[in-house]
Amino acid sequence: MLLEANNITFRYTEKSPLILRDVSINVAEGDRIGIVGPSGYGKSTLAKILAGYEKPTSGTVTLDGAPLPMKSFCPVQMIYQHPELAVNSRWKMAKTLNECWHPDDFFLEKMGIEKEWLKRWPSELSGGELQRFCIARALAPETKFLICDEISTMLDVITQAQVWNILLDTAKERNMGMVIITHNLALAKRVCTKIVKAQEL
């Protein structure tokens, strides 16, 4: 499968300045593309466009030549920077985890999710614990591409290492394509197959 963004231009409103100008990027199966660069270069905006959260002002995002499905499960899933905003605060964790697929016990163990957490509210878990749920939720069998928008920025170093190990294992196992957005060049060098600088987009 191939995820293509062709000549993407984006601005939030008609009067606001251009955030992305003529950006093209291709992600094939098994690719892990890192996008690094300082704030304000439209990295996150590009992530949202790639995952179908925002519509580009001009240009197209296609999956194997067809536009992203808007009504059914999108094979391009995105994981956010702030896990506490990405889960419903009135749902217990089990419901959040099982929203689009039902991970088995083995998978949960691999993700480092303890059974006891499933009965808790999101406010009773830490950021790192919540992020594991968000990642597990997005790793449905139908997911072919994963967009990671600064997913480990607010985690401590040990948790970062754990989370990335799990993600890389799963990605390699399923031959998923990934787009990894980060400020951390060292991290990008470690996990990505190719690195793009945001300034050069």
Binding site: P69, K71, S72, C74, R90, T96, C100, W121, P122, S123
Partner: protein, 276 residues
């Protein structure tokens, strides 16, 4: 630790049940009361509180205890109709305003500001007078003036939810707008809505009593707390304290109970404090 939290939840639930029970008893007792019980009896005029007449009697020898219960029951009916009507209006307006946006949003926001800008009591009196006073006028006036604040709350809640990441993520996971509205949004809106509904109740009852007290509401022969209190004003200077004190306290208890139920439900349903 675990045991303690469980206990507190149970204690709160029992308390809420008791409060509801008390209110329902008053409501049913008043509804099915024999009118003769609070009828005129010139033999016992202005009797102080005693065994036969717990709250004493008034200048026409009517038993104040039974009149109070009947009056509160009437107030509860008016409060219930008014707050259910208000809250349904608020729910529809709030959701429409947040979801449709544009002109609808502007018109609803303007209506809310208009209603909130006018002094509450003036608006109540105006509407009640226009509809010819009585229970119809009072119910309508209370129902028509209590929706704005709840509308604002519902609108705000839905607006916030619509742009939240988990709602957008659910859409990308192939969930339909209807499923999202029911599974993601309702759990957020319903507690706020129900608490708003419960907290509207004491407001409605107080306003009903106050405009009746001022003479723009229920007519004199209907037993209502407002009527009782306004009549008692004529006798209070001559030392007939029981005419005002007991009905006043009864009204206060009902209002405080509703307020407490609302506030505790708020605490219980809020995930931040629900497990305390």
């Amino acid at each position: 630790m675990m045991k303690k939290t469980l206990n507190r939840k149970i204690v709160i639930s029992i308390f809420i049940c008791l409060a509801f029970f008390y209110l329902i008893i008053i409501f049913l007792w008043g509804m099915f009361m024999n009118p003769a019980k609070y009828g005129v009896n010139y033999a016992d005029k202005l009797v102080g509180p005693c065994k036969e007449h717990l709250f004493g009697t008034d200048a026409m020898g009517r038993d104040m205890f039974n009149r109070c219960i009947k009056g509160l029951s009437n107030s509860l009916v008016i409060g219930l109709v008014a707050s259910v009507f208000s809250s349904v209006v608020a729910l529809i307006f709030g959701i429409a305003s947040a979801v449709l946006g544009g002109v609808t949003d502007k018109v609803i926001k303007l209506a809310v500001d208009l209603c909130m800008g006018l002094p509450h009591l003036v608006l109540l009196i105006l509407i009640s007078c226009m509809l010819g006073k009585g229970s119809l006028g009072i119910t309508f006036s209370v129902a028509l003036t209590h929706w704005p604040s709840l509308t604002r709350i519902v609108r705000q809640e839905v607006l916030q939810l619509r742009s939240s990441q988990y709602v957008k993520a659910a859409a990308r996971m192939g969930k339909s707008p209807f499923t999202i509205a029911v599974t993601h949004m309702l759990p957020h809106v319903i507690p706020a809505y129900l608490i708003g509904l419960v907290l509207l109740f004491p407001h409605a009852i107080m306003h009903e009593a106050s405009i009746t007290f001022l003479g723009f509401g229920l007519s004199k022969e209907v037993p209502a707390i407002g009527v009782i209190l306004s009549e008692s004003m004529n006798y209070i200077t001559t030392g007939k304290w029981w005419l005002a004190v007991f009905p006043g306290i009864m009204l206060l208890i009902v209002v405080i109970l509703f307020d407490l139920i609302g506030e505790t439900l708020k605490k219980l349903w809020n995930p931040e404090s629900g497990n305390e």
